[in-house]
Amino acid sequence: MAVERLNVEGQVAEGKVLRFNRGERFSHWLHVVSFFILLFTGLGVFAAGFHPLMSLVGGLQAARLIHRVVAVIFVLGTGAMFFAGDSRWHWEWLRSAFRFSDADKKHIKAFAAEFFGGHAVYPPQEKYNGGEKINSLLTIFGSAVITLSGLVMWFAPNFPAGLVDWAYPLHDLAMFVMTTAVIGHVYLSLIHPDSRASISGMLTGYVPEDFAKAHHAAWYEHAAENETAK
Amino acid sequence: MKVSRRNFLKLSGVSLTALATGLGLDPEIAQAKGYALKTEGSQKLPSICHFCSGGCGLLLYIKGDRLIHLAGDPDHPANEGTLCPKAASLRHVAYAQERVTKPRRRAPGSDKWEEISWEDALDKVARKIKEVRDSSWKGSEQLPDSKTGQPVSYAVNRAEGIAMLGSAEVDNEESYLLKKFSQILGTPYNEHQARI
């Protein structure tokens, strides 16, 4: 297979395939950074144990302020990327997250073994494999719920008390879900020997070609066809 | 200015709050904290309430000659340490900013007060008492004779121009001196709000 295959993003790469363009990468890291700041400052309020740590950000009341400012970035920042500049792949990601093919289902079944270093057979995967779609869904719904409940908590007096009551558990639930998902995601992207290669996709945009073939074979093929069709 | 407030629950000694587990499960029962009593080491002086005629006993807690707390006198047989809403608020009067703390004078026709020393104030009043007593003195008066009914002159020795309103709010000794003072001056016009 010709190595010089131009990726759909038109970048020449020796043994690499462009997976995420600058827009996607920027959204991802914007989301990551704001998420962890929010997690840290949020736990400052939600968990007694974290109170002393808040002095790192200038005390608890400062933490609550930071939480609100960063929350706005977390929501508007990431949201804006869906409309700013070349946002096509953002929508692509969104659509893919909601379409589970057989391949995805099989990947999910195989995923458990993969996770612990075993090797399971699963059909060729698209740009986002089954596991990553699950992770995407958790993030999408998690972010939505945490944003809405956050708004209700922030402007509690303007909402019916009943609604405010439910905002706290939902906010907390969304936090747990997303944090749990993030733990898995970080492991896979940084530590898991097979999948840690994917991190470069989010850093430079390119993933090694053999990684692409192994984990996202279907995507790798399409990329080649799209390339030739262009 | 917000009164210094809520320096309550001054924690003394180590507060042994049991660190509730992060799991938010049923928390430990907090160890009782050592609470300081704000009245610790204060001097307790009894007094009597200044409102209705219950004569309830007050107990004033004084620290460094400042009144820090006021409650009912537990030894008083009538109120046994309890107080009504008015009496319970009496600490405020000790340092109320609205209290008049220096003599004041309003000149005739003026629309404001001016400060005046006690010396000048008492001097002015004493002179006025003498002036009005002398000018309004009625030594005698025509009255129908108790037997004949014909008008006869009787000695009455009255300072007609002075009225002295006493008060049900002042102590016995003050009420007594007020009566004695008005009778010696010669004014029977000594009344007070017991009648209204």
Binding site: P169, L173, G184 | K2, R6, A18, G22, G24, A71
Partner: protein
């Protein structure tokens, strides 16, 4: 220290509001601007500076007036919603049965205020602290009566050991029922049992109180299910990662490519 109790026999309460004044005097709470709310009640709800006030409800039926007066303050529940809601662990229960906010730990987040079924704790925005009746814990811990009980002239408020005072309350309830058939004892079981219990002369609703007060369902779900399950889930994920690493290490996946058994496919 044994569990204490304050019994408010509202049949003896004349609404003189001495308890409100004594509470403010002892705790040095400043007065606030008020307006008559209904009947002779001048305070509608609790505020950071008002921890105890008297409610007035006028019920007139079959040409008989029942003027219901009740000293409102924190009930000091045995199963307090505020404690459950407090994420800063600032609220704790004392052996003597009081629910106390530790002023230093409190961050003023207001979760206690939002979750108390009686709307008792209130957050002071300047100080970023929540405030409510402390039960005069400083007095009780020094073997004194709470200030409201000490000042009550009619004898409507009584303080003592919960066991024998509750027995006395039931006896008194029987007597009060003679004149007020709808009288109830409020606080024996509600919210797990309240340190401030009442003999009410009518149903709790007549006093604007819930007959069966409970912590909001949302709070229970949050603290008894979501929080523990979430923590376990997060712990589980972390554990899974550890095992993942071990798994991969055992399988030599971390070694140089050629020595790895597993293919890249």
């Amino acid at each position: 220290m044994t569990r204490k109790m304050v019994l408010a026999d509202t049949s003896k309460c004349t609404g003189c509001k001495a308890c409100t004044v004594a509470c403010k005097e002892w705790n040095q709470l400043p007065a606030e601007k008020t307006q008559l709310v209904k009947s002779y009640q001048s305070m509608r709800t609790f505020t950071p500076d008002t921890w105890s006030f008297v409610t007035f409800d006028e019920n007139y039926s079959i040409s008989q007036m029942h003027w219901l007066m009740r000293k409102a303050q924190c009930f000091h529940c045995a199963d307090p919603a505020c404690l459950k809601a407090c994420t800063s662990k600032a609220i704790s229960k004392t052996e003597s049965g009081y629910v106390v906010i530790d002023k230093d730990l409190c961050i003023g987040c207001g979760y206690c205020a939002e979750n108390c079924p009686f709307g008792v704790p209130k957050v002071d925005d300047q100080q970023k602290k929540a405030f409510k009746c402390t039960g005069c814990i400083d007095r009780v811990e020094n073997n004194l009566k709470p200030m409201c009980v000490q000042t009550c002239q009619t004898g409507a408020l009584e303080f003592g050991e919960r066991d024998n005072l509750m027995v006395k309350a039931k006896k008194r309830l029987a007597e009060v029922k003679g004149k007020y058939p709808k009288a109830v004892l409020y606080g024996e079981k509600e919210m797990g049992g309240m340190t401030h219990s009442y003999i009410l002369l009518d149903s709790p609703e007549a006093y604007g109180l819930p007959s069966h007060p409970v912590a909001p369902l949302a709070l229970t779900l949050w603290k008894d299910i979501i929080r523990p399950v979430g923590t376990v889930a997060m712990g589980g994920a972390a554990a899974a990662v550890v095992f993942g690493i071990l798994g991969n290490a055992l399988r030599g996946n971390y070694g140089p490519p050629e020595s790895g058994k597993g293919g890249k496919e």
